[in-house]
Amino acid sequence: MTEKSPHLTIIEEDSVNMVRFSDRKILEELSIREIEDELFALVSSTPAIKLLLNFSNVEHLSSAALGMLINLKKEVEGKKGKLKLSNINPQIYEVFKITRLSKHFDIHEQSSDAINSFS
């Protein structure tokens, strides 16, 4: 099953909701807020969600986007779900490392590894 919105494509695979971003740059506050709203709606409509964010299309990320991911993780875990990230390019991974968020999030190189690790 695939759902598409202006910012996101959501694919359900092996009971995992995998989200791909349409935006190459997740920088601007307005689009970050819209992405946050869409992801929160998905989390609240899917009990104990297995949520994977696939960053393969993303080239830039701001600190506001990191803040959104932190809020999302709290929301997912508050509803007994799990959040994983994958396919983060080396430049963006460096942003996670500098801010020490690479340890805060469960990050996998490939989406297939992340999907397998949910079970």
Binding site: L30, H60, S62, S63, L66, N71, V95, I98, T99
Partner: protein
């Protein structure tokens, strides 16, 4: 951090800089960003340096609009910049009350790691070679040295 040659660019000397003044909104903030990034592209900066400058500029503009000018669209943000093949220096000034950078807590401590804000300044410092606050914190001046021309 690589030290910046103080004889090369002096943030106090306005004559050396190109200046853009914008209304304090995130939409207007895109104007200086696109002008500066075009010059960087034309000046032979590699992909990593361009990524670093773009990220730092985005964070500095967002800080000026949101925190410095407190979202007041009637206020202005003044951007001064020099782009040459050796280095890029960008100064972003808001009309707020200023702040003391040392008062900003470290967002990487265990108790702050799960808080959603406070990482912009840290990223600017990590990605630029030199960062200086002026005008009681109302202006940030940041420099990136082109690694290909050092």
């Amino acid at each position: 951090m690589t030290p910046v040659d103080p004889h090369n660019v002096d943030p106090r000397n306005d004559d050396e800089f190109k200046v853009i003044e914008i209304q304090s909104t995130l939409t207007e903030a895109k104007k200086p960003e696109s002008l500066i990034l075009k010059e960087i592209e034309d000046s032979g900066y590699d992909e990593d340096s361009t990524f670093a400058i773009k990220l730092a500029l985005e964070e500095a503009m967002t800080n000026a609009v949101r925190h410095g000018n407190c979202g007041d669209a009637n206020k202005k943000v003044r951007v001064r910049y020099i782009v040459n093949p050796k280095q890029v220096t960008i100064c972003v000034r808001d009309e707020g009350e200023g702040f003391r950078p040392e008062d900003i807590p470290d967002p990487t401590t265990p108790e702050r790691l799960s808080l959603p804000c406070g990482r912009g300044i840290m990223l600017i410092k990590a990605y630029m070679n030199e960062v200086e606050y002026r005008e009681d914190g109302r202006e940030i001046c940041m420099t990136k040295i082109n690694p290909a021309n050092t």
